[in-house]
Amino acid sequence: MHRQERSSTVAEGPALHALGRVVAVLASAATALAGVGLLLSLALIGWAVVMRYVFNAAPVWVDEVVGFLLVAMVMLAAAQTLRRGEHIAVDVLVERLSARGKRWTRVWAALATLAITAVLIVNGWDTAMLARRLGLLTEGNLEWPTWWLMLLIPAGGCLLALAAVEALWRALAGLPPTASAAHAEKEPD
């Protein structure tokens, strides 16, 4: 659990402010899509239960679709979760560091996240394209082309990369994380 830093007196430059707004809009829109995915999963599973017990005609494809929707939910909501500081970290040692030390750990955390997003984007894209070339289909009843489902990984990676760049920039500029800044639009949990 991250303890939020005191608000910095350093002002956001126009470039960082613009990046922040873009990331906020994209991350919120992606999370909204994830929310739709969750409600759709709820509707589909509820419908499948009714079909099985009432009409004795269980749709066989629902299990597959909600699995894909789960991947979409996770990849689409991961960036907003990062902006809100909700990805869990072990900060028992970091908490004991000076303000300068904490700032550099934030830089390190953002760089590490960026490295992961680079793998998600490059490796995810390559894997999707390989699946496309090979004409791979999903296992099960649907037999959808795998490659466009695999694209969820690099797409989520891009969103997460933008949020990580913003986090890195804010840390380098001595600004508090978006989770504690006024424009994070943090809702009460």
Partner: protein, 428 residues
């Protein structure tokens, strides 16, 4: 030696404060590159690990709990519990445990249980003259029942990781969960008799009063009965039970209580999505880490170590529980499940350990992790609610650490405490 070095290096990396998912993926990725010379199709592994129908239960249970909280359906729970227990010594404490137990059967999360019940119970207990320290400890510990009493997010993850029946695991958590609640209640009565002699029990509620209180919370009681009863009777799978429970929660909040509009439903859905993103990104990172450990044949090395040490089932369980207890002081419970479980499954199979039994022991240990410093999520939760000094919260929770170890030892000695109920399941 290799195993110890790998895990030590991972722990050191995680202590640098980077998100756990990034730490696991980075460590696994670097190890993969150093040992295999390439990253391979790591994203395919991540996709395959998250794309599982069974895991959909987690966001749906999170959504169900959010609906119950935002719809204020659980608010009556505490008053009902207190009306029924107020005549007993330590009645308010028992009411707090009872409310935690019932809410645990709704939420599947320790933090949500401690947060929701604590916000109501702690001020009330302090107002009635309880030592604040005792109130903090009771709610921190009572909240941990959230992951032992089903539904339970950690149990779903453990079940998927070990290919164990999630319905069976859920049922196996019921008796140990109730036993734990009973042990907490006995301790509360005893400690109230000793330390809070000045608190006089209130008059017993009349039958009419008790009936009215129960009627008020009937809908809150109906949800766990519906979800768990459906799974026990073999009507629902875990994922279906989560969806059916979420629909019932929506019906109660929107139609019966009329306390939830579209904006609240939407907020609950977004909240459940972010919790899921946090959990499953750790799962994604752990899948990369687990993949490379398998390539390095570390699970097989553990089996060989177990055979060479000849420690038997009890020795293995004691060593594992001690290790997880230590990890629990520093790591979050989801990370502990995903880091430790895949590597020890072959050793468990070799020793013939029932995965449901081990799962319950693991979850009790993860409950301990929520209240053992320096990193204990429920300790942080109580701190967030009360702003009390952390030392006071830790001292208040200390007796419960011992009580939980006692219950864990009981389940270790008598596995039937956990295994009896799943054995009676229809189709189980």
């Amino acid at each position: 030696m290799t195993i110890a070095l790998v895990f030590l290096a991972l722990l050191l990396l995680l202590f640098t404060g980077l998100p756990i998912f990034a730490g696991l993926a980075l460590f696994g990725g670097v190890l993969q590159y150093l040992t295999q010379g390439e990253l391979g199709t790591v994203t395919e592994i991540i996709f395959g690990e998250v794309n599982r129908y069974l895991l959909v239960a987690i966001p749906l249970f999170a959504f169900m709990a959010q609906v119950m909280i935002r719809g204020r359906i659980v608010d009556d729970l505490y008053n009902t519990s207190y009306t029924l227990t107020r005549h007993l010594p330590g009645g308010l404490g028992i009411a707090t445990i009872a409310a935690c137990t019932i809410f645990a059967a709704i939420s599947g999360s320790s933090v949500a249980t401690a947060l929701t019940i604590g916000a109501v119970a702690i001020p009330q207990m302090v107002r009635y003259g309880y030592d604040p320290k005792a109130a903090y400890g009771l709610v921190a510990a009572g909240g941990t029942l959230g992951i032992l009493i089903p539904p339970s997010g950690p149990m779903v993850l453990y079940g998927v990781t070990t290919d164990t029946s999630i319905g069976g695991l859920f049922m196996a958590g019921v008796v140990p969960g109730l036993l734990m609640a009973a042990v907490f209640a006995v301790f509360t009565v005893a400690s109230t008799a000793v330390a809070h002699r000045h608190i006089r029990p209130e008059p017993r509620a009349s039958l009419r009063e008790a009936a009215a209180a129960i009627r008020k919370s009937l809908w809150a009681f109906s949800l766990p009965a519906f979800v768990l009863g459906g799974m026990y009777a073999g009507v629902f799978t875990a994922t279906e039970a989560a969806a059916a429970g979420a629909w019932l929660a929506l019906f109660i909040a929107v139609v019966i209580y009329r306390k939830m509009g579209l904006s609240e439903i939407w907020a609950a859905a977004l909240d459940a999505c972010r919790v899921s993103a946090m959990l499953f990104m750790i799962l994604a990172g752990a899948s990369v880490f687990g993949h490379v450990l398998t390539k390095l044949r570390i699970p097989q090395q553990i089996v060989q170590t177990v055979i060479a040490a000849d420690i038997g089932v009890t020795g293995f369980l004691v060593v594992m529980m001690a290790l997880i207890f230590v990890l629990g002081m520093f790591l979050e419970s989801i990370a502990i499940i995903l880091i430790t479980t895949p590597v020890i499954v072959p050793a468990m199979q070799h020793l013939g350990i029932d995965p449901i039994w081990y799962g319950v022991l693991l979850v009790i240990n993860l409950e301990l992790a929520q209240i053992t410093p320096p990193v204990g999520m429920n300790l942080f939760t109580i701190k967030a609610i009360t702003r009390a000094p952390m030392g006071q919260i830790i001292r208040g929770s200390a007796p419960y650490v011992l009580l939980m170890i006692l219950v864990m030892a009981m389940v270790m000695i008598w596995p039937q405490i956990a295994l009896w109920l799943p054995g009676t399941m229809i189709g189980g």
